[in-house]
Each structure stands twice: as C-alpha cells, then as structure tokens.
C-alpha cells in the first residue's frame, strides 16, 4: 500500500448465507480524492463501505484503511478517523438534532470541544436552527443534512457516503453535493456510493464501476473515457440521414456509423469538423445539428456495463437511432 492510497480493498469476497455479496472486489481510494462507487442496487456498494470501517470482516481478501486493518485491534482507530453517512440516515427519531450530534460527539471522544463542533457542523449544513426539534419531525432533506453534519463532527480523514442524496428533492441534492465537494477542499478523502450517474458527474475524481459485487473497472473518468472513445467523435444529424453515408469514404473519417438521421463519426481531430460540414453543404444536405460528443459518466457507465455483457433485467438501454444514444451502438461495436 502506498501513502497515497487511503483505502485499499484487495480481492475481497463475502457471502451472506448462500448469496455472494462481493466477488474479488478491488478498490483503491487515493488521498484527497472524491472516489465514486457506481453501480445498480445490489452491486455491493454498501457492503464495501461496511468492510472499510470494519463493521463486517471480509470472507476472503484484505482491507487496509490508513494502512491499518479495520477488523483487527486497529479497528477503533480506523472508525475514529472515518465519518459515515449510510443510505438511511441512521438517526434517533425520539432525540433532538442536538442530542443526536451530542451522542456522536461523545462516542468519538470530542470532550469539551463537542458543543463548539456541533454548532460549527450544524451551521455548515444549515441545520442549526432545527437542532432543538425532535428528529422524528425532520424532513428527509433535514435528516440527510443532520447525518452529514454528524459525519464530520469529529473531523474525519475519510468520509464514506452511501447514497447521500437518496430521497432528496433536486435542490437539496445539489446543495448536498456541493457540500461534499467543499469537504474535499478541506483535505478530506471522500468515497461516495451512488447509482445516480448525474450525481457523480463532475464530482468524481475516480470512479469504480461495480456490478454483482465486483469492480468492473476503475480510474479517472477522463482516462476511462479515453479508453472507450480513443478518437474524438462528432454527431451529425441531417434531414435525410442516408445522404450522409458518403462521409464514410472521406480520408479524414476514421469510423462512420449511422442510426436513422444521425451519424456518429470518428475523426482524428475535431479541427476537421468544418471540412466535414463543408462536404455536406456542397451536396446540399440540410444539416440540423452538429455536436461534438463528450462522453458523460452515464455514457461511460453503460459502455462498461455493455462490455461486460449485462443482463437485460438490469436495464442497459438499447442502442437508439435518434440523438445521442447512437454512441451506445458505437460503444458496443468497439467492445466487440
């Protein structure tokens, strides 16, 4: 394990009865990064988090966090340095917000700093005005904010966030994601689990795509995109799609594929797009849109899952003949 890796999960497998929850799972979380575990429900994201804090011990493989083994006697130190927000906020409904935070502060041994830290954390997440109210009366958004405030009370080095925006309205979700971003600015490492691709978009420094308890691939989103889309792509839509097929013969076009009126064209360089447009105009083809394709995390996610031969019950969208989804057929072709 290098000093740069806060979490190293190596070849971990775990069974719950007859069900294999994790299969040879490998994850590395670099220091100071936001790493995102992406995967459908049941992919093993929550189990992975439980392994990292030592709440569960691995059936096989090893877990090191801060260079320590969380299921050994070092577990207490690992858990003291972690802040966790679980998929359900795990709050005590009968207690006030203050009492919930106070409980955590005392378990984490904050001592005399507890009150000031509670006020600070609650203020940071905009929940300070509601601290005297019973948590049972909080909205879902307030509960999530309180859980987030609780997770940072003790100044953890590693934040483990399991679906932190689950059940939130879009505005609250955006606020929560912004707060997560701020936390890495303060030097923390964040491991975020989500099945919401938009949530991870723009937030992830590293992603790990999980399925059936194993990691399909991991890395920086731009590097992974480069791996799946090595040449720049442009999507061109015209009124009569078949008229564009001559583009496939142009020397500048590395690959050409068309679905309906939209063509997906690989070019060595995006600077050749004007030439492409010019060729179309010369033939009086009415272009309705020209758009360079920048793969999103969603594109990447489905590309990975398609490459791995996902089953239909997990809803990998089929290739479409209109608009952006054309790239997915391209991905499938590349994968083959």
């Amino acid at each position: 394990m290098t000093d740069d890796q806060i979490v190293q999960v190596a070849g971990v497998s775990q069974w719950f009865g007859d069900v294999q929850a994790l299969t040879n799972l490998t994850i590395e979380v670099p220091k100071g990064s936001i790493s995102v575990l992406l995967g459908p429900n049941g992919a093993g994201k929550t189990t992975a988090i439980r392994m990292i804090t030592g709440a569960l011990s691995p059936g096989e493989g090893s877990v090191r966090v801060f260079g320590l083994d969380p299921v050994s006697s070092d577990g207490e130190e690992v858990r003291r340095r972690c802040g966790v927000v679980s998929a359900k906020p795990s709050l005590y409904d009968r207690l006030s917000g203050w009492d919930n935070l106070r409980y955590s502060a005392e378990l984490y041994g904050l001592g005399r700093r507890a009150d000031s830290r509670i006020e600070e954390a609650a203020g940071q997440f905009g929940i300070d005005a509601a601290l005297d109210l019973q948590v049972g009366g909080y909205s879902t958004g307030m509960k999530t904010r309180l859980a987030l405030a609780r997770s940072i009370l003790h100044g953890p080095d590693l934040l483990l966030l399991d679906e932190p925006t689950s059940g939130l309205d879009p505005e609250s979700a955006v606020i929560v994601l912004e707060l997560i971003r701020q936390m890495t600015g303060e030097g923390r490492t964040v491991l975020l689990c989500t099945h919401l691709l938009l949530e991870a978009e723009g937030l992830a420094d590293e992603i790990v795509v999980m399925q059936h308890g194993t990691s399909l691939l991991s890395g920086r989103p731009d590097e992974l995109a480069q791996r799946y889309w090595p040449s720049p792509q442009v999507h061109v839509t015209s009124e009569a799609g078949s008229d564009m097929d001559f583009l496939a013969q142009l020397p500048a076009v590395a690959a050409y594929e068309r679905h309906g009126n939209t063509a997906t064209i690989d070019l060595p360089d995006l600077s050749q797009v004007p030439e492409l447009v010019e060729a179309l105009v010369r033939r009086n083809i009415r272009i309705t849109s020209v758009a360079p394709f920048t793969p999103t995390l969603e594109d990447l996610y489905f590309a990975v899952r398609r490459e791995q031969g996902s089953t239909s019950d997990e809803a990998v969208p089929p290739p479409s003949t209109t608009g952006r989804p054309a790239r997915r057929s391209r991905v499938a072709q590349m994968a083959r």
């Binding site: 775990q14 069974w15 719950f16 009865g17 007859d18 439980r50 804090t53 030592g54 709440a55 569960l56 011990s57 059936g59 207490e76 858990r79 003291r80 972690c82 966790v84 679980s86 359900k88 906020p89 795990s90 709050l91 005590y92 409904d93 009968r94 207690l95 009492d99 409980y103 955590s104 005392e106 378990l107 984490y108 041994g109 019973q134 483990l160």
Partner: protein, 273 residues
C-alpha cells in the same frame, strides 16, 4: 473498555426512554396498581372495615404458610395479622414483577430496536466496541428496573406502614428479610433475566419476537415471587443469602457470556456465511 463511551450509550438509551411517553405511561400505571392502588384498597378494607368473614378466611389461609413464616407475623387481632401477612407475603412479592416487566421490555427492544430503526448502522461504524455497546445497553435496561424497585417499594412501604403499622405496633416494612430480598436477591435475578433478554434481542429478527421470548426468561424471577408469597424463601433462615449468592455467580457468568451476543454484524442485521 472505555467507560465514558459505555455510559454515553446507556445515557442515550435512557434519554430516548424518557422521551417515549407511550412506553413509560403504561409502565407507571402498572407500577401504581401493584405498588400503591391495590395494596392500599385491600389493606384499608381489611384493617379498617373489618369484614369478619373475609378476614377469617384469609386468616385461616395463613396456616398454610411455613411455621417459620407464621412466627414472624405481627399483630394481635385477626385484622392486623391478616394485614401484615398480606403486606409482607402477598402484595410485595407480586409487585416484584413490575420492575422485571419494565426492564425486560426495555432490554428486549434495545438491540433489535437499533437494527429495526436503522440506527444499528451508526453504532456499527462508530468507535464503540461491541462490549461497550452491550454493557451500555445492559445498564440502560437495568436502571429503569432498579429505579422502579426503589420508588415502588418506597411508596409501598409508606402505604403499608401507614395503613397496617398502627395495627401491629408501628412501622414494619421493609422487614429485615425484605431488605435482603431487595438488595441481595432481586438484583442478580434481574441481571440474569436481562442478560438472557439482551442475547435474545441481539439474535431475533424483530422487537415483537424479542418481547415474546423475554416472557419466558422472566420465569426465574416469577418463581422468586412465588417463593416469597408462599413463605418458602422468606421464612427459610439463611436460604435468601444462599439463593442470592448463587444468583450473583450465575448472573456474572451469564453477563460475561452475553457480551459475545452483540456483534457489529448483528447491529447491521446481516448474517455472514
């Protein structure tokens, strides 16, 4: 073991209990009936109204008590003797069930409740060890029982001494053997019951199942109550001291074994292969 964390767990559980009016209002009502209302009404009826037939029947029933217990009955009139016997041998032992009921009800919900509410996840990821969580929850379950015992028997003593005391020559309750019972015999039995209840709470799938099962493990204390009410335990010389000593040994063993029942996996509600 970090005692600060242990007490934090206990304190937080107790704080939640205080907030749970739907729990403690029925419990206070139950305690009021057993420690105050029923003893007061019956004792006042027997000692002041003096229905001769009823008193004679109860007085005759006292002959069924062991001789050593009969020797301790104070009072010169049938009303006084009946009042004394009921106060010492019937009402007080039955009231022992109240703290037991309260403690087992709290204990039964304590671990499975964390799992059901999802708060077990928070505890499982916290630095608190399984042992600290177990002991904290044990304390949180014992305290309501002991507080009920202290307050309940305080109120009960006041009532029986005010109602029956004048008939038997002054305040008499708690008798020396009842002090022994309250301070030496009951606590280990309560602890034994709770150690079993907490184990159940850690293992079963729902609070309802834990509460059903906890009824069974309450049997030892109910047996003690019966022993008291029939005079078997109470009038038998050194027997309470011996029973208490044995109960303490079993309680300490049972409590130490119970620590193993609380694991992070159980707080999360997962069963690994």
């Amino acid at each position: 073991m970090n005692w600060s964390r242990t007490m934090t767990v206990a304190r937080t559980d107790l704080k939640q209990l205080i907030q749970a009016r739907d729990f403690w209002i029925p419990m206070v009502t139950l305690g009021s009936f057993f420690f105050a209302i029923i003893p007061f009404i019956l004792l006042i009826t027997i000692t002041r109204i003096g229905n001769v037939d009823v008193v004679s029947q109860i007085s005759a029933a006292l002959d069924a008590l062991p001789q050593s217990a009969q020797d301790q009955i104070q009072g010169t009139t049938p009303e006084a003797q009946t009042g004394y016997a009921l106060a010492v041998f019937l009402f007080a032992p039955v009231a022992v069930i109240v703290p037991l009921t309260i403690s087992t009800a709290v204990g039964a919900a304590t671990i499975v409740g964390e799992r059901e509410k999802g708060t077990g996840e928070f505890l499982a990821h916290s630095p608190a060890s399984a042992k600290e969580i177990y002991v904290g929850k044990l304390i949180a379950s014992l305290v309501p029982g002991y507080v009920t015992t202290a307050i309940g028997f305080g109120v009960y003593s006041l009532i029986v001494n005010l109602v029956v005391g004048p008939e038997v020559g002054g305040w008499f309750f708690p008798t020396a053997q009842w002090w022994l019972m309250i301070l030496w015999v009951l606590p280990p039995f309560l602890a034994i019951c709770l150690s079993l209840v907490l184990r159940l709470s850690a293992k079963v799938k729902s609070t309802a199942a834990a509460q059903q099962a906890s009824g069974l493990v309450s049997l030892p204390l109910i047996m003690i109550a019966y022993s008291q009410s029939t005079g078997v335990l109470f009038g038998a010389g050194y027997m309470p001291i011996i029973v208490g000593a044995v109960a303490w040994i079993i309680a300490l063993w049972s409590l130490s074994r119970g620590v193993r029942s609380v694991t992070r996996q159980r707080l999360l509600g997962v069963a690994t292969a």
